[in-house]
């Protein structure tokens, strides 16, 4: 009898190890709704201002740190990153208008058109890391079941880029906290299928947004690990978030230029 109990326990344990993602699978529409909920949770449907701290560690190089202000407007997807520290980068900035990303360097006084997939300030972060989440618009999700990630129960899903949308990472794997729908972990893959970047979002915070008439959630800290150059990593800290309306003429080249004068 006891041997039967042992064998049953062992079978159950083996089954648990072999099939860790045994929770009920989500249907495709449920998964899309789930992904939309992930986006909605982070949207504020209005203006956004935050301060970010970026730290880049690269093998064989001196660590680089930046402080910058991020401004964005949901209505027309306008976006600004204005560097405030270090002194050498003060006044440099990115401006996204009409789906074009521009970079301004006050030392040369020139605007350069950059690709949307630009590495911000040479770090391993992209513009999309600071922008509103649009995962459901850009990707089709596939269910990978549930897993335990520390104390969290995470819904795992593979997102594949929708046709005719230009994306930096054509495939993403997400671990989303089932309870809060906050993204916990994210793996981004190249077209070749190679894992390029893993990020961990922690210290999720909320702020009341008047324009949304509800809470907007954002990760207080994001850590990006380069999976090709293993020693490289980037830390982003988001602080001083404000959702009050911004000046109407803020998202212009003239405004960004004026900040370096």
């Amino acid at each position: 009898m006891s041997s039967l109990r042992i064998s049953l326990t062992a079978t159950a344990l083996l089954a648990a190890l072999a099939f860790p993602q045994v929770a009920s699978a989500l249907t495709k529409p449920e998964l899309v709704e789930f992904l939309k909920a992930v986006d909605v949770r982070q949207k504020n449907n209005g203006d956004w201002r935050s301060m970010i701290y970026m730290e880049q560690k690269e093998k064989g190089k001196v660590d680089v740190a930046y402080e910058a202000l991020v401004f964005r407007r949901s209505e027309d997807q306008k976006f600004i990153i204005l560097f405030t520290q270090p002194k050498a980068s003060q006044g440099q900035g990115y401006l996204r208008i009409d789906k074009n990303l521009w970079f301004y360097d006050p030392s040369v006084g020139k605007w350069e058109r950059r690709t949307e997939r630009e590495r911000i300030g040479g770090t391993n972060s992209r513009r999309s890391d600071f922008d509103e989440s649009r995962l459901a618009e850009e990707y089709d999700p596939e269910d990978n079941g549930e897993v335990k990630l520390g104390t969290y129960t995470a819904q795992v899903m593979t997102l594949k880029g929708k046709p005719n949308i230009d994306l930096a990472f054509p495939m993403i794997k997400l671990w989303v906290d089932k309870e809060t729908k906050n993204i916990l972990k994210r793996e981004e893959y190249a077209l070749s299928g190679r894992l390029l970047r893993t990020s961990f979002n922690s210290k999720w915070k909320k702020i009341y947004s008047e324009s949304k008439k509800g809470d907007t959630w954002y990760p207080g800290e994001m850590r990006f690990y380069d999976e090709v150059e293993k020693a490289n990593s980037t830390l982003i800290v988001i602080k001083s978030v404000d959702t009050k309306p911004l000046e109407p003429n803020l998202f212009t080249k003239a405004w960004l230029e004026s900040k370096s004068r």
């Binding site: 350069e112 058109r113 950059r114 997939r117 230009d166 930096a168 054509p170 077209l191 190679r194």
Partner: protein, 438 residues
């Protein structure tokens, strides 16, 4: 005519008579000619090395490259349906000797121990005998570039990546639509450095560049045209003609811009157009960021030459003045026994001419010998100089034409320098000349 030869003989004897002065002047002329020959050899050597490296690594004599813009803010160095473009070229460029096509790109090359940003050139090694001849492989086998996902790198990149033949590296880049992509490559050959251009250049099979940038098989980065040797100097004119021809054939062609393709991304990104535009360049355009060394060298050569010639002219004129003063009684005697003013003038000019001929001949021979010794010694140059010489050693190129032109120029200047003193000598009245003491 007899007088002519007589004057020539008198001038020659006079040189032997005053051999100390003549030896001094001939030596000065030889030194100046030798320096001129060496300066010419240096600038010609750099120029030849530059052409050879440029036309091996990144350019033909004329190139048909271009950009394809998926959206107005995203461009890639791509020529679509390149075989159709080649047909137009073949029909309209009779000066063409042969052509090759290369993939163009820029990627991060990552090894287990390091990484570097590098140009990634796609190459069909089976059709590039010149490339195999010029690139000096120090390790591995260049023919292995026929295998997919292989790579040739240069010695200086080995230091940064800490790799050897057989090791794997990852190429990481964005496709022309902005998606991240990677390709794993095996290093099959390590080549000797070829100056600045090899610091940031790697070569992979063209299929690898297509795979990395997700391009169709009928695309390439640039069509490199190699001209028959006698037309190489006409590359700019042929490029201009080809621009018009391609426009007439229905292609959109970019305005001439004497810069390498990788310096045009910003300009092209700023422009609001999509689709394909071709860009016709010459090898000089593609290495325009380096040709300033040649310009600096030319200016330096001109300045040095002016100083040296000024010294020689002053020396010749002074010596002639002294000779005339010393030989005033001789001039008077020659005039008294029937030598005409022209004869005196000719005699002094001949003296100068003879010194010029002997001095320049000695200088040309001496300069050539020194240049040959320098080449034989295979003198290594510092890294900073290598970047601009496009070679790890000093190469001096001496051509007969440059020797002859240097000798003729210095001889003419030397002869002309004696013109005024000779004229003054010829103008002396015989009586006062004969009674001159001193």
């Amino acid at each position: 005519m007899a007088n002519f030869f007589l004057d020539f003989r008198i001038a020659l004897r006079s040189l032997f008579q005053h051999r100390r002065r003549a030896i001094f002047l001939v030596s000065a002329i030889a030194l100046v000619t030798g320096l001129l020959v060496l300066l010419n050899a240096l600038s010609t050597g750099i120029s030849e090395t530059m052409i050879r490296a440029a036309t091996t690594l990144s350019s033909g004599h004329v190139n048909v490259g271009g950009f394809f813009k998926v959206t107005s803010s995203q461009c890639g160095p791509v020529v679509t349906e390149y075989e159709k473009v080649v047909k137009v070229v073949e029909q309209n460029v009779p000066e063409l000797a042969h052509w090759v096509h290369r993939g163009r790109g820029w990627a991060k090359v990552i090894s287990d121990s390091g990484s570097t940003q590098a140009g990634v050139t796609g190459i069909d090694i089976t059709n590039e005998p010149d490339f195999k001849r010029v690139v000096s492989v120090v390790s591995g086998n260049i023919d292995d570039l026929t295998q997919p996902n292989t790579m040739l790198i240069f010695e200086s990149q080995v230091e940064r990546l800490k790799v050897k033949v057989g090791d794997a590296v990852t190429l990481s880049a964005q496709t022309n639509r902005g998606a991240a992509n990677t390709v794993d490559c095996r290093i099959v050959a390590i080549a000797k450095d070829m100056g600045l251009m090899s610091k940031f250049g790697t070569f992979v099979p063209i299929e690898t560049t297509r795979s990395l940038y997700q391009l169709r098989p009928d695309t390439t980065g640039a069509i490199q045209l190699y001209l028959k040797p006698r037309y190489v100097a006409d590359a700019a004119a042929i490029a201009a003609r080809l621009r018009t021809t391609l426009e007439h054939a229905g292609y959109r062609v970019m305005d001439p811009d004497a810069n390498p393709f990788w310096m045009k991304f910003q300009t092209v990104n700023r422009e609001d157009w999509t689709g394909q535009k071709l860009d016709v360049t010459t090898w000089e355009d593609e290495v325009s960021f380096l040709t300033w060394t040649l310009k600096v060298l030319s200016v330096l050569k001109l300045v040095l030459l002016t100083i040296l010639i000024a010294i020689v002219v002053t020396g010749i004129m002074n010596t002639m003045w002294i000779a005339i003063r010393e030989r005033t009684r001789e001039i008077g005697t020659l005039r008294a026994i029937g030598m005409q003013r022209w004869g005196v003038l000719r005699m002094f000019l001949f003296e100068s001419f003879q010194m010029g001929i002997i001095g320049t001949a000695a200088g040309a021979v001496g300069g050539s010998i020194v240049a040959s010794l320098v080449n034989l010694a295979e003198i290594k140059v510092p890294l900073s100089v290598q970047l601009f010489l496009m070679s790890d050693q000093l190469h001096l190129a001496v051509h007969v034409s440059s020797l002859v032109s240097a000798a003729v120029m210095i001889t003419v200047i030397t002869t002309l320098a004696a013109l005024y003193p000779a004229y003054r000598a010829a103008s002396l009245p015989p009586v006062s000349a004969m009674s001159h003491f001193g």
